[in-house]
């Protein structure tokens, strides 16, 4: 078929029969374009407000995954409806159900999240820095631009399997607390913060992945201090919450598992591009951007701008794509590890 061929009855060059019909289409197109001017040029959508573009694939088998949750919910319902001999006076009334006051008698026990075999559905990507915070820089490249580029590529890769949002989609300032707020409000299942490292002189370039936790390594403390330097939005009053967050056990195991999956994938994939690449491992450090996250959260240092050869590699789109693919594979590996099928097959 060539552009000269038409599927209507009107021959090329002649006045098509449906001029009135075309007129209405053009009028709709004009109105659609006029509406574009309603907002000032250059204004931006809310960070993280990206529309998910593809319909989710639905498999009836996925309902099986909800069975344990449904059972747990049913048990909880029965438990709540059991007559209470002496309800606490301040018990809240909610929809006719009396919810007894909950008292903890000791430190909470860590729960193995594998008892809730729920799939990963929503992922929030956090390109580090942005706006007036360039992060590290070398050879005309900046951490903020590289992180954004890689995040776009990663979003592109994840898009067909997950709902993906980004904490920023442009070169703009986003406070650290706002980044996790976006993830929490979106009900994200995973939070991945993307950064590019700067290593002390004479250190070979390497990849490393962090989850939230304390550290006594002065070098890691310095790195965390650098990445935390833009902690706008928080104040001294938040310090107790920071410290609680640092030692919270509940999410730590998951975050460590996510960090491990991503680190292994990064090292395996990028070593093919750079045989001298060092595996700097999975580590914990007190990154502020991870503290507010209510889901497994990691910070990946996917490359380093302190290495001149690495700077050259980072100029290559294929290398940036390789980094995104490595992150994608790591996230996929973590997601599969949570599913019962993966456990059964030993995958």
């Amino acid at each position: 078929m060539t552009p000269g061929e038409r599927n209507g009855s009107s021959p090329p060059g002649s006045k098509p029969a449906g001029q009135h019909f075309k007129r209405s289409l053009i009028e709709a197109a004009v109105r659609d374009n006029e509406a574009l001017g309603a907002r000032p040029f250059g204004s931006r959508d809310e960070p993280g407000a990206r529309r998910v573009r593809r319909p989710r694939r639905f498999s009836p088998w996925s309902l099986l995954l909800l069975l344990p949750v449904a059972a747990a919910a049913a048990l909880g319902y029965l438990e709540l409806n059991r007559p209470e001999p002496d309800p606490a006076p301040e018990a809240a009334v909610n929809g006719g159900l009396q919810i007894p006051e909950i008292r903890f008698t000791g430190p909470p026990e860590a729960v193995d999240v594998s008892v809730f075999p729920l799939p990963i559905q929503r992922i929030v990507l956090d390109p580090g820095h942005g706006g007036s915070s360039p992060g590290t820089a070398a050879g005309g490249l900046t951490e903020k631009a590289l992180a954004l580029d890689i995040a776009y590529r990663l979003r592109n890769l994840l898009d067909d399997r997950f709902r993906v949002a980004m904490t920023r989609e442009a070169d703009m300032n986003v406070a650290l607390d706002h980044r996790t707020l976006i993830a929490n409000r979106a009900g994200a299942d995973v939070f991945v913060s993307i950064h590019v490292n700067w290593l002390p002189a004479n250190r070979a370039c390497g990849v490393e992945t962090y989850y939230l936790g304390p550290t006594d390594d002065p070098e890691l403390s310095a790195l965390a201090e650098r990445e935390n330097s833009e902690a706008q939005g928080y104040s001294l009053g938040d310090l107790p919450r920071f410290l609680e967050g640092l030692y919270a056990q509940a999410r730590q195991d998951d975050s460590r598992a996510l960090a491990t999956a991503i680190q292994e994938s990064l090292y395996r994939r990028l070593r093919a591009e750079n045989p001298e690449l060092r595996n700097r491992g999975v580590k914990s450090a007190p990154f502020v951007v991870l503290i507010g996250a209510e889901m497994p959260a990691i910070l990946a240092e996917v490359s380093c701008l302190s290495d001149a050869k690495e700077v050259e590699r980072l100029r290559d789109e294929n290398y940036l794509q390789a980094i995104a693919e490595a992150l994608d594979a790591g996230i996929q590996s973590f997601a599969e590890s949570l599913l019962p099928a993966a456990k059964l097959t030993g995958a």
């Binding site: 552009p3 659609d32 374009n33 592109n156 067909d160």
Partner: protein
């Protein structure tokens, strides 16, 4: 007595259709000019490069060929202007400038006022379209931005009971035309497109021939020559293995990479058709138009036609000359837009 005043003559108007693509961009103008440029822009990396090249900016194939000396940009990733970089916006501006230079003969005086219809991926976000308008401001007098499949369908006069599947480099756009201006629910944009096939092919070749040195550009050029779905091949190419030119058989990697398009396309086509009113679904199935550079993959049209068998069969027709089908459609639309409508769409200054 009548007083004659010297009025400033209105500049002539030139209507154009522009297709801004990830890999290629094209322009079709009412004066008969049709041009395509590769969507690459490069600036000299340093003073030495500037001295060698004797130019401040290079656009198109020339930029691609001289990339070692350039800060090279491919600014329309996935068919959209990459956000977050003024450099990429500048690159899009340079591509549009080059297209307009090609369409308007040099030295023409007075310079015509350009009325442009620009095609963008179907699900382009509002903010991207606004950015595009801002970039075009100053280069054209008036702009209408429409979805690429709509422009294609308009050009082919296929506006009723038709599905357009436009497989570009960065995106695949699908759109059902039901005789109304397509809304969000009539359209889908997939990021599974030509570039994804290139990366898939590159990865499969590296897996199969780990000692072969193959760049993504080589994989892309092989795909453009030998791509196929279903039966085909053999595909044997030359690639350096440990530095020595060696013949390698990439038939299976090629088949696997190209067939990676079929499943997401099948799924999305069926989903869109299922949303059409039942009595019209058969007509839409029998009126599927496959276009875009990757629409030329051998056997792809037949594979998609087979997929329609699940719904009772259908017919897929392939556009043989996809390079200009989008810009030609934009031009047809531009010619049909009335002058008063162009005034409504004029930029903030209403001129160039």
């Amino acid at each position: 007595m009548t007083t004659l005043t010297a009025a400033t003559p209105e500049p002539p108007v030139l209507k154009v259709g522009i297709d801004l693509g990830t890999s290629r961009s094209s322009i079709s103008a009412a004066n008969g000019e049709r041009h395509m440029v590769r969507s690459y822009v490069g600036w000299p990396r340093d003073m030495v490069a500037r001295k060698v090249l004797q130019r401040d900016v290079l656009v198109g194939i020339e930029a691609l060929e001289k990339r070692p000396m350039l800060d090279l940009r491919r600014p329309l990733e996935r068919g959209l202007i990459k956000e977050g970089s003024a450099r990429d916006e500048q690159a899009v501006r340079e591509i549009v400038r080059r297209l307009l230079e090609l369409a308007v003969p040099a030295g023409r005086n007075p310079k015509p006022a350009i009325h442009a219809v620009v095609g963008v991926p179907a699900e382009t976000l509002r903010v991207n379209r606004q950015n595009l308008r801002r970039i075009l401001d100053g280069q054209v007098a008036s702009t209408m931005i429409v979805s690429e499949p709509f422009a294609v369908a308009y050009g082919l006069d296929a506006l009723v009971h038709t599905m357009v599947v436009d497989i570009g480099a960065g995106t695949t756009d699908l759109c059902v035309l039901m005789g109304r201006f397509p809304t969000e629910s009539d359209q889908r944009t997939l990021t599974v497109a030509g570039d994804a096939v290139d990366h898939h092919l590159h990865a499969r070749i590296q897996e199969r021939f780990p000692d072969a040195s193959v760049s993504i550009h080589m994989a892309r050029s092989w795909k453009e020559k030998y791509s196929f779905v279903g039966g085909g091949g053999p595909v044997v190419v030359d690639a350096p293995v440990s530095g020595r030119p060696t013949r390698i058989d990439i038939t299976e990697p090629m088949r696997t990479a190209c067939e990676s398009l079929v499943e997401p396309l099948r799924e999305t086509m069926l989903d869109l058709i299922a949303r059409v009113e039942p009595e019209y679904q058969g007509r839409v199935r029998n009126n599927v138009i496959l276009t875009g550079g990757s629409g030329l993959i051998r056997g792809l049209g037949a594979a998609l036609q087979n997929a329609l068998g699940e719904l009772g069969g259908g017919r897929v027709r392939v556009v043989k000359d996809p390079v200009f089908v989008g810009s030609d459609g934009g031009l047809t639309l531009a010619n049909d837009v009335r002058d008063e409508d162009w005034l409504r769409l004029a930029g903030p200054r209403g001129d160039q």
